[in-house]
Amino acid sequence: MTLQHIERPIGISGHDGGNGFGSEALRLAGRTSARILSRYGVLLGFLALWQVAASSGWVNAAVLPPIDAIVAALWKGLAGGGLLGDIAISLQRAGLAFAAAVIVAIPLGLIMGQVRAVETALDPILQLFRQTSALALYPVFILLLGLGEASKVFVIFWATLFPLLLNTISGVKEVDPKLLEMARVYGARRLTIFRRVVLPGAVPSIFVGLRLGATTALLLLIASEMIGANKGIGFQVMNAQYNFQIPLMFAAIVILAALGLIANQALVGLQRRLCRWSSTVG
């Protein structure tokens, strides 16, 4: 996609000729900025409106502080190190839970997708668990595991497990049976078929699960940190609000958004590497 974007203006400029190089470069620059504007215009407009509204007093700046105040709080928290400890503990919680969910859900999903008996036996209880909100179960986990790290990591793990598991199962089951038959014709045994046809065929769907799982993990991270934590980004959002440090609250929210974007981009990048054959990585 980026390649096309680079190529198009150059390609067009080639055959209308006659123009000086200067005007050509100018037009290229114009096109580039037009493209940036069409993609980020609304976002920039939103931020500008926010800044103007907050600094000119249209809205209460104590509730919606201007952008520069938020950036300053963010800078202070990161450069001064005040928020680094919170980021570290949050990453640890979400990372541990996500890794555990991956380790459990992907192998289990692969087995459930392949072996009908396992799926039949586990499906009802998994449906029940899945339909029960993880947040509703959080108090139960606190009772069982205490108010420390274990219950937080567990509730994030719990919620992350299901999107991963379900997408892995459907990835395995949706592998084209015609491809399985083709492999069988060449004498492939069950394990070979699994390794060479089922597994690669399920990868795109597993990535859908990973991306959904990452989003869920961050969501549950915040929720769990808002209850009974004394450190973490979610705690900072809540705590800053209690203490009326509104720019700091927004700074913590910005960090959360950034974590989500980074996690998603990392997974998209990984998927692009693993699924170069597919044109549908987006």
């Binding site: 015609k178 491809l179 014709v185 060449y186 004498g187 060479r196 690669p200 170069r276 054959w277 597919s278």
Partner: protein, 253 residues
Amino acid sequence: MASARGGEVTIRDLSKSFSLGGRQLAVLRSLNLDIRSGECLVIVGASGSGKTTLLRILAGLERADGGAVAIDGREIEGVGEERAVIFQEPRLLPWLTVLGNVAFGLEVRGVPKADAEKRARFYIALVGLAEFGDAYPRQLSGGMAQRVGIARALTVQPEILLLDEPLGALDAMTKISMQEELARIWNEENVTMVVVTHDLEEAIYLADRVLILPKEKGGAARLIEIDLPRPRDRSESRFVRYREELLREFGLH
């Protein structure tokens, strides 16, 4: 030379029926047939006459209800290394390149990757795709993808090549050039070929013999020998007469 390779198929009393909405529907009724080593046998018949079922039984993908199929005197049990199948769809693995797909059959059979790829390259060139070894299936046209499927089947060097409406999904122009290609490959590879098609012209173009499967109960399968020199000329008067004969068999002329 042809007979030295084997690939002789003996079909005895073969029958198969499906249950459809509670009714038993017989598609094959004690069929007897000998397919000669190295010949090209084309199976035609109205839809529902069981031609694809017959091919799938020969491939070992389906079991007959009664009767037996033997290859070079040995009764078949499921799929076997002496057979390869070309389906109507290319059935390529989208995550493998053309080279990877063509080498797949050999690799599955335990041939080391380097050897498998070496032989795969030969057959990729044979179907005219030498420059496309690194391409992925989604980048190929329908005709090219089907060539890859054909190359994959040839790479395992089967004695018997089973083709289930191999050109059925291609446009008319591609189809004609692929028919010529199949005839050439059959000629060069010295393989027994069994082709299912519903295209009568394709049948006459490729076949040593055409097997016509009956649709009605009690009808008998009929074999027509196509006695024409190769490569065949579609506009030749005898070619046209064979076509009329086949059309008559279907009650269309």
